[in-house]
Symmetry: C2
Subunit: 234 residues, 2 copies
């Protein structure tokens, strides 16, 4: 046998879950959109059963809201909501770098530096999509270095809701070199295993992110109310 190729079986519910998740995060399914089971079913070519199970999962993650006997809808993103998530993420991101300082292996440090360099290269290209991807990978290296599985999965699900604002955030920050500077600071602190400095750098990093995202939400809301004024509500 060439390699471990077993267990590549993916239940439909998971495939549906991923697709819906993606659609919500990219805005293809906008906030407030109703998720009707039959409709989604024939759009995705599956029956209601996997759809329902996927919705149950999205519900527990907070991406969709259920009203009994009424149905599911894409959760509204409010400033409060996002602010709550960011508050939690701030604490967990700091925990991540602190743990990374204790536990990262030499290979982990190499990996981290590679991720940092890849990120800087991506910034040079000015390709938002690539920058975003490199940014995610950078953070993933740190998160994995904690070795804490629960933390890994929590970070994953708490990052989700803000993916919609990622591009704007990157456009905001990458031009000024802020992101690059912040990443360097984090890497340096972790390499020296200086938990305090790492915590500070990570805290600043997410505070900047918060500012950018909150500003974006306010812009969106403004635009929305303008549209409403001009009767552009669909």
């Amino acid at each position: 046998m060439p390699a471990a190729k077993e267990e590549d079986f993916l239940p439909l519910r998971d495939s549906v879950y991923n697709k819906l998740r993606q659609a919500i995060l990219t805005g293809e399914l906008p906030a407030g959109e109703r998720l009707m089971e039959v409709h989604l079913g024939d759009k995705l070519g599956v029956s209601r059963t996997p759809i329902r199970e996927a919705i149950r999962m999205l519900e527990l993650e907070g991406l969709v809201t259920m009203i009994p006997r009424k149905g599911a809808m894409v959760s509204q993103i409010t400033e409060k909501n996002m602010s709550d998530v960011l508050e939690v993420r701030r604490a967990l991101d700091i925990l991540c770098v602190q743990l990374a300082c204790e536990r990262i292996t030499p290979e982990g440090i190499d990996e981290l530096k590679k991720a940092r360099d890849a990120f800087e290269k991506a910034v040079d290209t000015n390709d938002s999509r690539r920058i975003a991807q490199a940014d995610v990978e950078f953070h993933n290296v740190i998160i994995r270095a904690t070795g804490n599985d629960r933390l890994i999965s929590l970070e994953d699900s708490l990052s989700l809701p803000m993916y919609r604002y990622r591009y704007e955030y990157i456009k905001d920050s990458s031009g000024h070199g802020n992101l690059v500077k912040e990443h360097r600071g984090i890497v340096n602190a972790i390499e020296k295993r200086n938990a305090e400095a790492a915590a500070e750098a990570a805290g600043e990093h997410i505070d900047n992110q918060r500012r950018s995202i909150i500003r974006q939400i306010r812009l969106d809301r403004e635009e929305e109310s303008m549209n409403a004024l001009y009767g552009k509500r669909r």
Copy 2:
């Protein structure tokens, strides 16, 4: 109409979810137990559909583990696992008290003091069940005072896995008055809105909890291997 009595409709899936959750946390469904859909179905008098949806939710919470095409089982509690959860909870508990210092209202402080007193009274009775309940309520007051909905629901789901050890932990600590002392420290710090002191007190509180739980897990494991030695495996 006498009062708002609407929306007391609870889908079966939620009822099943609660029952299974309870059964897992009380140990009625021990770790490793397979959750078979038809079996649970006729035990609870419902069809497979609500069972499956409840299992999807428990899975995302980490209480059950799925193996594709094999089925679901109650998640094994390992020391690593619990340690991961406690590590995250430590960060979040500290965040809770810090936020509470900023945001708690005068009424919140009253409520907190009441919860503290109720807890002390419960300790006097030496009734573990009652102590546990008062302890949960005490923490809930603090958590609610943060006003952060995401934090509230996360704390809820992160507390779950350790409910199994709660009684032992309380027997460990309440005798020595540790718990009472720690709670007092937390209340004092929050009342003075001294975030730093509150953080320290909360950190110590959960560190003690951790010690007790880890010790308990090791005891359990020892006992288990003894049973295995004597052929008491079922």
